[in-house]
Symmetry: C2
Subunit: 239 residues, 2 copies
């Protein structure tokens, strides 16, 4: 499904940003990068350096000298813009965007991002179907190019891998209740020796408080052993 | 509510990344940045340059020389890690994270990010309550520091501004049906002059097809005028 999406950078100013974008594409399983008229010469050393493990995407990037050619293979083009534009083009929200890409099968989506400082021109926008503005604080709307692209890659990845966002997938090996009970018993015996449970009528409540504390800890086997040895150590007569 | 969150960068290697992080914080309405042992000298010129409009956050950043001091004012600390760690600490998903921050009132959250190359040490992780791994492609898990932080800022912002993610907020001023109808009438008259509706029994279907096309366009008033003048121009006898 990832092949449905191509990312188009229009006149990016800095090689570093192109590299950072490539890295993000690979992080979220995308491969297709098109660049229209990069400001710096191409191939670009800084783009290579900042792409880290995603140099393959930089190497395979398609370079165009106009937006028209760059969008020609797509069925639907979505422009990302930091500000509302006075152009009669449908502005969609992130959730509407996600619905559109989910509902349209056999459709190639071109996702178009403008230059760092100025954003997309009205000429570029006129070639798109929709305009999407990533919501931000009203006080500072200008997102870094690779941050915008990362957020969009992340949202598409999330749509296709929702299970990975739901539950913690790591099983913590919490000790069995038997082992936790042995620990509590060990502690209880030593505390009895030390005359801790005074007055005796409060012993039950005191034990319950200890249970509450220890059962809440969710220790693993190693931590149970550490706790047992701390308790033993504390109860020794040595000073 | 934004004051609930502080962002802690542990031993960041590059000033550029600190600047990019500050920019993202401001984009999503956060202000609190703490830095533990930045590798380069502080204050840092590159951090200032890449922070763009968020230099205020860089200026007010708190610098610590150990993680312990940096986390001391928070109630709950969440560590962000690119890999599963073999440590008995609860790993939570993004959605679990969002539930936790939504449910706990009067709680200050420290959100802790490790150095670019190595990630958080086990010592740092031991001071946190939870570990969160941002889901990525299995083939390339290493997210750029400012990308990880941007995604987390974005998710918290989304939680608190869900309305901004639902519907398109820009009202496109689509022309009234009256104006669209006038346009169609204008087109119809000219086409009749040109003998377009042949054979006459198909006239109704042909008109309906034209309606389908034009009513779908959602033009604004200016576009209606443009269309009308295109139609007039095409129908002229000049060559």
């Amino acid at each position: 499904m990832k092949n449905k999406f191509g990312f188009i950078l229009i006149k990016p100013q800095l090689g570093e940003n192109i590299g950072a974008c490539a890295r993000s594409l690979k992080n979220f399983g995308f491969t297709k990068l098109s660049i229209v008229s990069p400001k710096q010469s191409w191939p670009n050393q800084k783009a290579k350096a900042t792409s880290v493990g995603a140099y393959g995407i930089i190497k395979k990037a398609k370079i165009y000298n106009n937006t028209h050619d760059a969008v020609s293979n797509f069925n639907i083009v979505i422009s990302f813009s930091a500000r509302k534009r006075d152009i009669n083009k449908k502005h969609i929200s992130i959730n509407q965007f996600l619905k559109i890409i989910k509902s349209k099968k056999n459709t190639k989506f071109g996702l178009m991002f403008g230059p760092e400082a100025s954003g997309l021109s009205n000429d570029d926008l006129s070639l798109s179907n929709y305009i999407l503005q990533i919501p931000t604080s009203k006080k500072f709307k200008s997102l870094n190019l690779s941050h915008s692209l990362s957020i969009i890659c992340y949202e598409i990845f999330k749509l296709e891998n929702s299970n990975k966002f739901e539950k913690n997938t790591k099983n913590i090996k919490i000790s069995s209740k038997r082992k936790i009970f042995s620990l509590v018993l060990h502690l209880k015996k030593l505390l009895e020796k030390k005359g801790f449970f005074v007055p005796t009528e409060k012993k039950h409540t005191m034990l319950m408080n200890i249970n509450n504390l220890i059962y809440r800890m969710e220790p693993n086997d190693k931590e149970i052993r550490i706790l047992a040895s701390i308790i033993s150590s504390l109860s020794k007569k040595k000073y």
